[in-house]
C-alpha cells in the first residue's frame, strides 16, 4: 500500500514535528535545529515542501501560541497578532472601520479557504510565485539554489518585476496584504533569542541584489509576534486596486494601495504602494511627495503616477506593466480621493 506523502523525487522530506505554546519556547526550539521552520497556517510552506523547494528537518508548530488577538493600542493604532488568520483580520470591526484599505487588500488575495488558514505573520513571509522558483524541474534559480542563474531573465517573465530587480533575480513579492501594510506604515514586532525588536515594514522585505535567496531582514531564529498599525488618518479615503488575469483568486499583475489624508479638497498627505512590480511591496515616496499639499485633481494624479514609475526597468515581456501601473495608480487615487 502506498504511503501517502508524495511520490518519487517530488515527495516531501521527512521532518520532526514539535508543538510549542509560548514565544520563548518557539525561539529556543528554532535556535536548536538548523534549518527548522515555524509552521503557522502552512498554506505556502506545505505547498513548497510538496515541491521540495523547502526541506526543513523540523517543523515547529506555533499555532498554539496565544498570538491571535487584534486589539487597539493606547496610541489609537491597532496591534495585529501574528497568528490571527487573514480572514479574521480582514473582518475585524476595528480593521473594517479604521483600516478598510487593509481589509480590501487581504480580501483581494487567495481564496476564503486559504485566508481562513493563512496567518498575518505567514503572509509577510510568503515566497515568490516565480515558476522557476516554485518548480525544481527548472535547474536555474538563484533564489532556490544560489549561483545557479536566473531562467526568468530571458524566459517567462510576463509577471515579473519592473522595479528594484537585479541581474540575479526579477521575482516579485506575491502579497496583497503587505502592499496595504506598506502604505499604512506598519511595524513588525519580532522576538529573537535576545528579546524583541521592531522592524519597519519598509525594511522588512529586501531587494534581491546579489543575495536573492534572502527575502527578508527577519533572522532565522526570530519569531514574528505582531504587526503594529499606527493610527490612520485616511479612513475611507483609501483604495486597494488589484489588476489580475481573472476576476478573482489570482495574484496581482499590478496592485495599488492608495491612501489620502484629505482636507476640503486638499491633500494633507498621501501614501502610495505598489504590488506585483518588485521583490518587495513598493512604496513610492517620491509620488507621495508630489501629492502632499496639492489640490485633488486627476492631472495631479497623472503626475504622481509618472513619478512613481520613473525608475521602471521592464524586460522584454513585461513592459505592459509600466503603463498598467500608471493607470492603476491614477484610478486608485481617483477612487481614494472621492473623484470617481
Amino acid at each position: 500500500m502506498p504511503f501517502y506523502v508524495g511520490s518519487g523525487e517530488h515527495s516531501m522530506n521527512p521532518f520532526e514535528y514539535q508543538q510549542v505554546d509560548e514565544p520563548a519556547t518557539a525561539v529556543d526550539a528554532i535556535s536548536r535545529w538548523r534549518g527548522s521552520k515555524f509552521l503557522a497556517g502552512g498554506t505556502n510552506l506545505i505547498d513548497l515542501m510538496k515541491n521540495t523547494v523547502e526541506q526543513p528537518p523540523k517543523l515547529i508548530d506555533i499555532n498554539h501560541i496565544p498570538l491571535r488577538g487584534i486589539e487597539q493600542t493606547p496610541d489609537g493604532g491597532v496591534k495585529l497578532g501574528a497568528l490571527a488568520r487573514n480572514s479574521d483580520t480582514a473582518n475585524h470591526p476595528l480593521i473594517r472601520k479604521n483600516y478598510p484599505l487593509l481589509s480590501q487588500a487581504i480580501l483581494s488575495g487567495a481564496s476564503p479557504q486559504l485566508r481562513n488558514m493563512a496567518t498575518n505573520g505567514g503572509n509577510l513571509l510568503q515566497r515568490t510565485r516565480c515558476p522557476y522558483f516554485m518548480d525544481p524541474a527548472f535547474s536555474r534559480c538563484n533564489k532556490r539554489t544560489p549561483g545557479s542563474g536566473c531562467s526568468a531573465l530571458e524566459g517567462f517573465h510576463e509577471n515579473h518585476a519592473i522595479l528594484g530587480a537585479s541581474d540575479q533575480c526579477i521575482a516579485t513579492h506575491p502579497s496583497d496584504m503587505c502592499v496595504a501594510l506598506a502604505a499604512l506604515e506598519a511595524k513588525v514586532r519580532v522576538r529573537g533569542p535576545k528579546g524583541e525588536r521592531i522592524i519597519a515594514i519598509g525594511d522588512f522585505h529586501r531587494l534581491p541584489g546579489t543575495t536573492p535567496q534572502i527575502d527578508t531582514t527577519l533572522m532565522p531564529d526570530e519569531l514574528i509576534v505582531s504587526i503594529d498599525l499606527p493610527p490612520s488618518p485616511y479612513g475611507s479615503h483609501s483604495h486597494y486596486l488589484k489588476i489580475r488575469e481573472r476576476t478573482s483568486y489570482a495574484f496581482a499583475l499590478v496592485s495599488v494601495a492608495a491612501a489620502i489624508d484629505v482636507d476640503s479638497g486638499w491633500i494633507r498627505g498621501a501614501r502610495l504602494a505598489l504590488g506585483g512590480v518588485a521583490h518587495k511591496p513598493w512604496r513610492v515616496e517620491a509620488a507621495e511627495a508630489a501629492l502632499a499639499g496639492q489640490k485633488l485633481s486627476i492631472s495631479l494624479f497623472e503626475q504622481a503616477a509618472s513619478r512613481a514609475l520613473s525608475g521602471a526597468r521592464p524586460r522584454r515581456d513585461n513592459t505592459y506593466k509600466v503603463e498598467m501601473a500608471k493607470r492603476a495608480i491614477i484610478r486608485a487615487l481617483t477612487i481614494a480621493g472621492g473623484l470617481a
Binding site: F3, P112, T247
Partner: protein
C-alpha cells in the same frame, strides 16, 4: 510511489461506545478507530493524533508528512473529500474545521488534535440531505461531480460567513456589518476558491442562492 516497497502493517480496531438514548434503544454516539502503522524506515517521525471527524474520534499514528486530506481518504477511507491539485488551488479538498472552510491538502493531519472536522459525509442527517446538497441537485450544480463535495462544504461555510456579516472583496460598504445579501456577484466571489472544470458555475451560484434563502 516510492513507498510501495515498504509494507505498512496496520490494523484497525473499532470500538463502539453505545448509550441508551430515549425509550426506543441505543444510539451510537462515538466510535474510536485506532489505526497504527509500523514505523517507516526513513520516516523521521511518527505521531499519534486523535482526529474528530463527523463526530467520531479516530486515533491515528502516522508519519508527520500526512496531510489532513490523505488522512481522511487513505486512512479513514472517507473518500468523499477529493484530491484535485493537491496544492491549494482548486478547492476540491475543502472541509470544515471547527466550522471554518479550509483546504485539507495544505494542512498536516498532526496539527488537528482536538479539532472538529466535518466532511461531505457528515453533512446529511442520515437519509435526509443537507439543504445545500438538495439545492445542488435541484439546480444541476455539477456535471462530473468531482469538485462537488468541496463546493458544497465551501458553500456551507459561505452561508455562515454571510450570516455573521463577513465581507468579501466585492462588498461595497465595509462599514456595514449586518448579514450579507448574497447576490450572484457576492456568491461568485465567495466561491472563487472552488474550481469546476465542467463549468457548472451558473447552477452552483443558483444552488447557493436558493439555499441562502431557505437556511
Amino acid at each position: 510511489m516510492i513507498d510501495c516497497k515498504l509494507s505498512r502493517r496496520d490494523f484497525v480496531k473499532t470500538v463502539g461506545y453505545f448509550t441508551g438514548a430515549g425509550a426506543l434503544g441505543l444510539q451510537l454516539i462515538s466510535v474510536e478507530t485506532i489505526v497504527e502503522c509500523a514505523p517507516l524506515e526513513f520516516s523521521a517521525s511518527a505521531h499519534t493524533v486523535e482526529l474528530t471527524v463527523n463526530g467520531l474520534v479516530h486515533k491515528l499514528t502516522m508519519d508527520t508528512r500526512v496531510t489532513l486530506l490523505d488522512a481522511l481518504r487513505e486512512y479513514l477511507k472517507l473518500t468523499g473529500t477529493k484530491k484535485g491539485c493537491d496544492h491549494g488551488q482548486c478547492g476540491a479538498c475543502t472541509v470544515l474545521v471547527n466550522g471554518r472552510r479550509i483546504n485539507s491538502c495544505l494542512s498536516l493531519a498532526v496539527t488537528h488534535q482536538g479539532d472538529q472536522i466535518t466532511t461531505i459525509e457528515g453533512l446529511s442527517g442520515g437519509e435526509e440531505l443537507h439543504p445545500l446538497q438538495t439545492a445542488f441537485i435541484e439546480h444541476d450544480g455539477f456535471q462530473c461531480g468531482y469538485c462537488t463535495p468541496g463546493q458544497i462544504c465551501s458553500a456551507v461555510a459561505l452561508l455562515e460567513e454571510a450570516r455573521r456579516g463577513d465581507a468579501s472583496f466585492v462588498t461595497q460598504d465595509l462599514a456595514h456589518t449586518g448579514r450579507v445579501e448574497l447576490t450572484p456577484e457576492e456568491i461568485r466571489e465567495r466561491m472563487s476558491g472552488n474550481i469546476c472544470r465542467c463549468g457548472a458555475y451558473p447552477g452552483i451560484v443558483q444552488a447557493v442562492q436558493t439555499a441562502s434563502r431557505t437556511l
